[in-house]
């Protein structure tokens, strides 16, 4: 009996070793490709927001960790700096709309040093398919309405959906989602305007390889 148990245990152990070994081998072989894919995804979003012609530095290498702030959705976010030679051009910052129709909406927003929002993209969301998911560029081009819109204290009141007296469209049957996105982008712009120098001047302290996992897995 004891002998049989030992034998079975040994066989189980061998299988555990073999299967884990196979996984380890695959992991080691795909690790770099996966990191590249994530990096490429991040870079393509960053470059969509700030075209390559507008900056000379490597966007994904020049970034800082931003402490959680209510204006950014109370989560630790990353900010990327786009510079032309040594001249500051734009901040691309992650932000979260905490008040979506179902859960958080993770965004990335580009704002240039003249306080103009260059553009925004939704990284991840759980909004209703067919209604709230129009914030996703893959579904509709609504998010492009934010391209090149100025945000200052004078224009701040225009940063609402039309229903609330602002300039951005809501969707038929879904107001909560666009309202959350508009607010999040406005709040982010406010945050960037208030902390512009800190954001541009802090030394780069995040390697997107390490933190990229969190951003794209959510």
């Amino acid at each position: 009996m004891v002998k049989l148990m030992g034998k079975n245990g040994l066989i189980l152990g061998l299988f555990a070793l073999a299967t884990t070994g196979l996984i380890v081998a695959t992991f080691i072989n795909t690790k770099d490709t996966i990191a590249q894919a994530k990096q490429a995804q991040l870079l393509s979003i960053l470059n969509e927001l700030v075209p390559e012609s507008a900056h000379t530095n490597a966007l994904d290498m020049d970034c800082i960790i931003v402490e959680a702030n209510p204006l950014l959705g109370d989560k630790t976010q990353r900010a990327f700096r786009a510079r032309q030679d040594q001249q500051d051009y734009a901040i691309i910052i992650e932000s979260t709309a905490p008040d979506g129709y179902s859960g958080d909406i993770d965004l990335v927003i580009a704002i240039n040093e003249k306080s103009t929002v260059l553009g925004a993209r939704v990284l991840s969301h759980k909004e209703t398919p067919g209604l709230g998911d129009k914030i996703d560029l893959r579904v509709s081009d609504w998010i492009l309405d934010f391209n090149d819109v100025l945000y200052t204290t004078d224009t701040a009141q225009r940063w609402q959906v039309k229903k609330d007296g602002g300039q951005f469209d809501q969707f038929t049957g879904a107001t909560i989602t666009p309202r959350a996105v508009v607010n999040a982008i406005a709040n982010t712009a406010e945050y960037v305007n208030a902390n512009k120098r800190t954001l541009f001047d802090s030394p780069s302290n995040c390697l997107s390889n390490d933190t990229g996992n969190e951003a794209s897995n959510e």
């Binding site: 049989l4 299988f15 795909t30 996966i34 398919p129 067919g130 049957g173």
Partner: protein, 231 residues
């Protein structure tokens, strides 16, 4: 040869994992929003099924009966993790779309069901064919359901093909009609249940029709034999 033919019929029709065995319903209902999502998950499941079936069949004489289930579970978990890593590396966008449902392949009862019911009792080549056929049978149901829901819900077909086949395939998307308001019922999970029910009903109808026809033939034969014995 006849064993392989039998396996093909079993996997595609008589014992189809999705619409007869009703296994793996969670991913089946959740990801079939579009044709391509269905195809992606179907292919991943097929890959896992073939891999686990072959492995289980190879080790079937080595593994004692008492510990076969934990061994099968380990083998399946291993193949799912490997598939997940490969998809993460080579079809990154699709990996993001399918998300949680790739690790969930591990809980797809169709896989351990085949390992236990077929692969653990049959030689390697038959087990591989069984895995392939069951996988294709599952994939067909996924893409049919995905296609139905995509056409009804979004008015398109093959949207997102570039996620699976690369940038060139983005031209494959066919727009049948476009409206501002999508047909939500088809897109949301209830639509998946209803579509699934319709598929099962359709299969049962066809089966019934075939049965009726063969039944008639059988009746003719019986009558002939009865009269034969009477004389």
């Amino acid at each position: 040869m006849s064993e392989i033919k039998h396996l093909v019929i079993q996997g595609f029709w008589k014992n189809n994992p999705a619409i007869v065995q009703l296994l793996g319903l969670c991913p089946l209902l959740a990801v079939t929003g579009t044709f391509i999502n269905g195809l992606g998950l179907g292919l991943a499941t097929t890959l896992v099924l073939i891999g686990s079936n072959i492995t289980v069949s190879i080790v079937r004489n080595v593994v004692p009966n008492e510990i076969r289930i934990p061994v099968f579970v380990m083998v399946i978990a291993c193949f799912v993790t490997v598939t997940e890593l490969l998809m993460n590396a080579f079809t990154y966008e699709l990996y993001l779309t399918l998300g949680i449902f790739i690790p969930l392949i591990v809980t797809n009862c169709a896989i351990i069901g085949r390992a236990e019911a077929y692969a653990s009792k049959n030689p390697v080549h038959f087990a591989a064919v069984d895995g392939l056929m069951m996988g294709i049978g599952f994939t067909i149901v996924l893409v049919v359901l995905g296609g139905m829901r995509e056409i009804l819900g979004f008015g398109t077909l093959f949207s997102g093909a570039d996620l699976l086949f690369g940038e060139r395939a983005s031209a494959m998307t066919i727009t049948l009609f476009s409206s501002d308001v999508n047909f939500l019922l088809a897109i949301l999970p209830p639509g998946a249940f209803i579509g699934m029910g319709l598929l099962i009903a359709a299969k049962n109808m066809i089966d019934k029709a075939i049965e009726n026809r063969t039944h008639k033939d059988a009746e003719v034969v019986t009558r002939a034999r009865v009269t034969g014995t009477d004389i």
